[in-house]
C-alpha cells in the first residue's frame, strides 16, 4: 500500500515529473530511480510538478540533493513548481530556496528553461 505515485511526461522537450502523495524515507528510492533513468538517457531538463505532493520529508529532499549536481553538470536543472504552502515550508525551513529554482507554476518553470536556451 503505497500512497505515493510518480508520473512522467514530456512537454516542449522538458521532462515533467508529477509527484503525488507522500515523498518520505519509504518512497524516496522510487524518485531516485526516476532521476537515475532520466540521467541515463541524457535528459537533463527536468521540472518537478509538486501540485499533488502532500508531504515531503528530509529523505525526499535528499534525493534532490543527490542528483542536482549531475544534472547541472550537463547544463540542465531540476526546477520545482506548483508547491503547496505546506510543502514549500519544509523546503524553506531547510534552506532549499537558495539552492533550487522554485517556480510558481509549471509554465513558468518551462519558460525558464526555454529562455535560457535562447
Amino acid at each position: 500500500m503505497s500512497n505515493f505515485k510518480i508520473d512522467i511526461r514530456e512537454k516542449e522537450n522538458i521532462n515533467v515529473i508529477d509527484l503525488k502523495g507522500y515523498l518520505d524515507a519509504h518512497t524516496a528510492p522510487e524518485l531516485e530511480k526516476i532521476f537515475q533513468n532520466l540521467i541515463e538517457v541524457q535528459k537533463f531538463n527536468i521540472v518537478v510538478n509538486c501540485e499533488e505532493l502532500n508531504y515531503i520529508s528530509s529523505a525526499g529532499l535528499g534525493v534532490f540533493m543527490a542528483y542536482i549536481e549531475d544534472v547541472r553538470k550537463h547544463n540542465g536543472d531540476i526546477k520545482l513548481s506548483n508547491m503547496s504552502a505546506k510543502v514549500y515550508n519544509v523546503f524553506d525551513l531547510l534552506g532549499f530556496p537558495l539552492l533550487y529554482d522554485i517556480a510558481k507554476d509549471e509554465a513558468e518553470a518551462i519558460k525558464k528553461f526555454i529562455s535560457v536556451k535562447k
Binding site: 520529508s57 529532499l61 540533493m65 543527490a66 519544509v90 525551513l93 531547510l94 537558495l98
Partner: protein
C-alpha cells in the same frame, strides 16, 4: 501674500500640528512589525520636524554594543557598523557641548556632523539611540520641541521593542519548526529502518535523509566490517584515502575538522580538509564506534551547528542499529543455508559409503566413517570383483561440505566404472587421476589409497596416491607401511602408470587403512595424536576381531580429543586375515 497671524495663535496651531503628527506617527509605526520600516519612518519624522539633512538610528544588539541600522543623508556603508558605548546618556544631548575625550564614541557622530543624540527608551530600558543634525535656525530647541522629540522617541522605542520581540519570536519559531522537522525525520527514518533488513537500503536512506536535512551532498560513510573500518559509500571531489579509516574508531563524539587542535591530529586534519570533509560523526552502538559519517561543506556555506551534530548523531546511531540487525539477519540466513548444505553433504556422503560390507572368505573386515559437523570429504569402499578378488579403497577429498561430497561421488563413480576394465592397478590409478583432473577445478585434490586383495594367495596389490600410509601389523608385531604409489589425485595428469606395491597378508596380520581425521585428531592443547599412538592401540588389540580393533581405535581417538570438537571426518577400514591358509584347502 501672507496673512498675519497672532503669535499666540501660531503657537496653538503648532501645538495642534505636533499632536496630529504624534498621533499619526504612533498609528503608523505601531501598525508595523517591520523594523526597517519603523526606523525609516522614525528617522524621516525626526528630520522633518527639525529640518535635518542627516539622520541615524542605532540599536543595542548586545549589551553595550550598538549597531547602525539605518541612515539618511549619510553614506549607506555605515549600516551595520558597531560601536561600543559604555554609558549611554539618559537624555537628549548636544554633541557640541560634550567632551569628546571623555566619550570617544561620540567621534563617529561628530565626523558625520550629527549634532543631537536621542536615547530610545521604553519600559526604562534603552533599546537604541537616534541622531540628527537640526538646521542652524532650529539649533535652539524650545521646550515644546524637546517634548515632541521625546514623545516621538518613546513611541518609536516601544514600536522597535515590540518589533524586536516579534523578530525574536519568529527566529525561535523557525528554530522550533526545524527541530520538529528534525524529530519528524528521526521518527520517520527510525520507523523505516526498523522494517528494513537490507543494509544497502539502510545506507541509502541514511544518506538521503542527511543530504536533505543538512543540505549537503559531499560525504563519506565508513563502517566496521569484519573488525576493520571500510568505506561503504562516498561522494567526494577527491579520492578518499582508505588509510584514514584507521583514525576513525578512536572518534567518540562528533567533531568539526577545523576545530582539531591536538598536534597528533594535524596530519589527519589536513588530509580530511583536502578531500573537503568538514565534520566527522561517529555512528555508535552500545558506546562503540561502529562507523563514521564524514560530511563536506553545506551548500549554503554555513558551518555545522551544535544542533546539526546532535541530529546527525541521533540519525547515525539509529542507522547503525538497523545495519547491525541487517548483519545479524544475514548471518542467521547464511548459517541456516550452511546447515542445510551440510545436511545435503552428509546425505550424499552416507549414500556413497557401502551400506553393508561384503563378507570376504578367510578375512575379517570392519569399516566406519564418523563425519564431523562440517562434513569432510572422506570416502571408503569395498567392492566385490569376484569371489576371489576384492577392492579396498579409502580417500580424503580436499575441502569440506557439498563440494567435497560431490567430488567424492565423482571419484566413486570413476572407480566403479574403470575397475571392470581389467587393467593393472597402476594403470587404473593413472586413468582415475586423469579423469578427476579433467572434472575438477583447480585447488581440489584427493589423497587416495586402494588395493586388490586376492583371497586365495592372500596377496594384496596396492597403489598409494599421496594418502596416509596404511599400517600393516604383522603377527610378530612388526609394522610395515604401504607407501608405494605416486602423487595425489587431481593435481595434474600422470605421465605414467602409478607404481604398484604388493604385500602378502598372513594369518594374524592386521591391515588398517585410515584418514588424517584419525592421525591428526587434536587434543585440547591443539596437539596432534600422531600415528604411533594408533599403532600401539592396534598392537594391543591385534588378537581381537576387526570390529573390536576398529572400535578400540575410535575409542582412543575420542579419549585423546576429549573436550574438543571433532574437526574432520574419522574413517577407518580394518582387515584381518583370520583363518589359516590350510583351512581353505580342506
Amino acid at each position: 501674500m501672507s496673512i498675519p497671524v497672532l503669535q499666540s495663535e501660531k503657537k496653538h496651531l503648532e501645538n495642534v500640528f505636533d499632536m496630529q503628527s504624534l498621533f499619526e506617527f504612533s498609528n503608523v509605526v505601531n501598525a508595523s512589525l517591520d523594523l526597517k520600516f519603523i526606523f525609516n519612518h522614525f528617522i524621516l519624522t525626526l528630520m522633518g520636524k527639525l529640518l535635518s539633512l542627516r539622520g541615524i538610528v542605532l540599536l543595542e544588539r548586545k549589551p553595550g554594543i550598538f549597531c547602525i541600522e539605518s541612515v539618511k543623508g549619510l553614506p549607506s556603508d555605515l549600516i551595520n557598523t558597531e560601536i561600543r558605548i559604555a554609558k549611554i546618556p539618559k537624555r537628549m544631548i548636544n554633541i557640541e557641548r560634550e567632551d569628546i575625550r571623555k566619550n570617544p564614541w561620540l567621534k563617529l557622530f561628530k565626523i558625520n556632523e550629527i549634532h543631537f543624540l536621542l536615547p530610545l527608551i521604553t519600559r526604562d530600558r534603552i533599546v537604541g539611540i537616534a541622531g540628527v543634525s537640526p538646521d542652524r535656525r532650529k539649533k535652539k530647541l524650545n521646550k515644546q520641541a524637546m517634548a515632541y522629540l521625546k514623545s516621538i522617541a518613546n513611541i518609536a522605542a516601544a514600536a522597535i521593542d515590540k518589533g524586536l520581540y516579534i523578530n525574536e519570536l519568529a527566529v525561535i519559531n523557525k528554530q522550533l519548526d526545524r527541530k520538529i522537522q528534525e524529530l519528524k525525520t528521526l521518527f520517520e527514518v527510525g520507523k523505516e529502518f526498523n522494517g528494513v533488513l537490507d543494509a544497502d537500503r539502510v545506507v541509502k536512506l541514511l544518506l538521503f535523509s542527511v543530504m536533505g536535512q543538512i543540505g549537503v551532498n559531499r560525504y563519506v560513510l565508513c563502517l566496521t566490517q569484519g573488525g576493520e573500518m571500510e568505506v561503504i559509500s562516498s561522494r567526494l571531489d577527491k579520492e578518499f584515502d582508505r588509510k584514514l579509516c584507521a583514525y576513525f574508531p578512536s572518534i567518540e563524539s562528533p567533531i568539526l575538522i577545523g576545530n582539531l587542535k591536538r598536534k597528533a591530529d594535524q596530519a589527519v586534519q589536513k588530509q580530511l580538509m583536502d578531500v573537503g570533509i568538514q565534520v566527522l560523526v561517529p555512528l555508535k552502538l552500545q558506546n562503540q564506534t561502529k562507523g563514521i559519517l564524514g560530511l563536506g561543506e553545506k551548500l549554503n556555506r554555513e558551518t555545522y551547528s551544535k544542533k546539526d551534530l546532535e541530529f546527525l548523531s541521533s540519525l547515525g546511531n539509529l542507522a547503525v542499529i538497523s545495519l547491525e540487525n541487517a548483519r545479524l539477519f544475514r548471518e542467521a540466513i547464511e548459517k541456516q543455508r550452511l546447515e542445510d548444505e551440510l545436511l545435503i553433504a552428509k546425505e550424499i556422503q552416507r549414500g556413497l559409503l557401502p551400506a553393508k560390507l561384503p563378507a570376504i572368505p578367510t578375512f575379517d573386515v570392519a569399516a566406519t566413517n564418523i563425519s564431523s559437523k562440517q562434513v569432510g570429504g572422506d570416502y571408503y569402499d569395498i567392492i566385490t570383483l569376484s569371489h576371489e578378488h576384492y577392492v579396498l579403497a579409502i580417500g580424503d577429498v580436499s575441502g569440506k561440505g557439498t563440494p567435497a561430497s560431490l567430488l567424492m561421488a565423482n571419484l566413486q563413480a570413476t572407480i566403479r566404472a574403470l575397475v571392470p576394465l581389467g587393467l593393472s592397478l597402476g594403470e587404473l590409478t593413472k586413468r582415475v587421476n586423469d579423469l578427476i583432473c579433467e572434472n575438477t577445478g583447480s585447488g581440489r585434490f584427493i589423497t587416495f589409497f586402494w588395493g586388490i586383495l586376492h583371497v586365495e594367495s592372500r596377496t594384496f596389490k596396492y597403489v598409494n596416491a599421496g594418502h596416509n600410509q596404511p599400517i600393516l601389523l604383522r603377527a610378530d608385531s612388526t609394522i610395515e607401511k604401504l607407501d608405494k604409489g605416486g602423487m595425489i589425485l587431481g593435481i595434474m595428469k600422470a605421465p605414467n602408470p602409478y607404481q604398484e606395491g604388493e604385500v602378502t597378508i598372513n594369518t594374524g596380520d592386521v591391515l588398517v587403512l585410515f584418514t588424517d581425521g584419525v592421525s591428526e585428531a587434536m587434543n585440547s592443547k591443539g596437539e596432534e595424536m600422531g600415528e604411533e599412538r594408533m599403532e600401539n592401540v592396534i598392537r594391543m588389540n591385534s588378537k581381537e576381531s576387526a570390529d573390536t580393533i576398529l572400535s578400540k581405535i575410535v575409542e582412543d581417538v575420542r579419549e585423546y580429543s576429549r573436550n574438543t570438537v571433532q574437526s574432520d571426518d574419522i574413517t577407518l577400514v580394518v582387515l584381518k586375515a583370520i583363518i589359516p591358509d590350510c583351512s581353505l584347502e580342506n
